[in-house]
């Protein structure tokens, strides 16, 4: 049985009121949690330089994405993780690379068991015209570091991995719930409840609801992520 396409299933659920399975909803929840953590980290930027957030609207390469708020960043992170156009490389248990070619976005998810003991993730755009090439060189270097010829590249985003690997989904959900909870000063249980509702909302048909599959959120909202004077 083939793995369902996350965005397509969400759209179908919205349109046909057909509820997806619990495993599917959990995959959506994990990706939304990860997206929230990534967006927070990206919007504030390392050392609060707001550098990477600005890269989405004033890219050195590619088209501007019109991201104006943390909510837009979250939606973009979710779209990157869930998109059928996203390539996923999962070199070892502690690191995941995702590359979304249409928006030239790279996502790196890390867990604290990694070399740098960092937990969380980041999202950025290619900073030069050889972006896809740079990404491939990065993942090739990871493969050589591991002493293997290469890692299997999975198409269709992070969703299929979460649906196929129950253990991975559980670990990721718990990890990102903890990180989100810490950020919001709430308990991990509250974080999970919030995102359970959040995932439910995504499959509930709403009047004039934006299409989930829309790659880039366009609505201008308050400037929660200030453009960096550096770029």
């Amino acid at each position: 049985m083939s793995t369902p396409d996350i965005q397509e299933t969400l759209l179908n659920a919205q349109q046909n009121e057909k509820k997806p399975t619990e495993a599917f909803m959990r995959a959506v929840r994990v990706m939304r949690l990860a997206a929230a953590v990534i967006a927070d980290k990206t919007s504030h930027g390392y050392k609060k330089h707001h550098r990477d957030a600005d890269e989405f609207n004033n890219p050195r390469y590619g088209r501007p994405l019109g991201i104006h708020s943390i909510r837009d960043l979250q939606q973009h992170a979710f779209n990157v993780l869930a998109s059928r156009d996203t390539e996923i490389v999962h070199p070892y248990g502690t690191k995941i690379y995702a590359y979304h070619e249409p928006s030239e976005t790279i996502v790196i998810l890390n867990s604290k068991q990694g070399r740098m003991k960092l937990d969380g993730g980041t999202m950025f755009r290619s900073k030069h015209d050889s972006g896809p090439d740079w990404y491939r060189r990065l993942t090739r270097l990871e493969a050589e570091w591991m002493g293997v010829d290469g890692f299997p590249v999975k198409q269709g985003g992070f969703g299929p991995s979460l649906l196929q690997d129950e253990d991975l989904a559980t670990r990721m959900e718990s990890r990102y719930a903890k990180l989100y909870a810490r950020k919001k000063h709430i308990s991990p249980e509250e974080a999970l409840a919030q995102f359970r509702q959040n995932a439910e909302d995504m499959v509930t048909p709403k009047q004039n609801a934006p299409a989930v599959a829309k790659t880039v959120a366009q609505k201008p909202v308050a400037h929660n992520c200030h453009p960096s004077p550096v770029r």
Binding site: I108, R115, T122, W145, R231
Partner: protein, 135 residues
């Protein structure tokens, strides 16, 4: 791969050592790059360059200045050192402006890409046997 296996792999790479002969111009570029990264380390996203500051200090020390800049630099480095240098050069390609640009680095973006490739060739040629025997 779990944490234990990851640590084991790092130990293996750390234990593999070789004498690396850097051409004078490559060595000079590499030293300038290391100095720039050292200076602007906090601007680099740690998720992209997952290198501890202590590791960077160790690499700066390992690539000490030459008595005569025109000499070939022979340095005994580990396989892990070479991987970290290559990773550092690859990441720097995306942080060219933040690292001070062509003025500070003394090279253009294509030259930086060429440096990354040179480091990769050096690593592969110097550690090919070690990797084969390990694999």
């Amino acid at each position: 791969m779990d944490e234990e296996q990851l640590e084991k792999r790092m130990q293996t790479l750390r234990a593999q050592k070789a004498d690396i002969a850097f051409a004078p111009d490559v060595y000079a570029q590499l030293r300038r790059l290391l100095a720039a990264v050292h200076k602007h380390f906090e601007q680099i996203d740690p998720y992209v360059l997952d290198l501890e500051p202590e590791r960077l200090d160790a690499l700066v020390k390992a690539l000490s200045p030459l008595d005569r800049p025109t000499d070939v630099a022979m340095r005994r480095l580990s396989h892990l050192d070479m991987f970290d240098l290559e990773r550092l050069a690859l990441t720097s390609e995306g942080y060219f402006a933040e690292l001070g640009g062509a003025e500070a680095l003394g090279m253009s973006p294509p030259e930086l890409t060429a440096l990354t490739e040179t480091l990769g060739h050096l690593r592969k040629s110097c550690f090919a046997t070690a990797e084969r025997s390990a694999g």
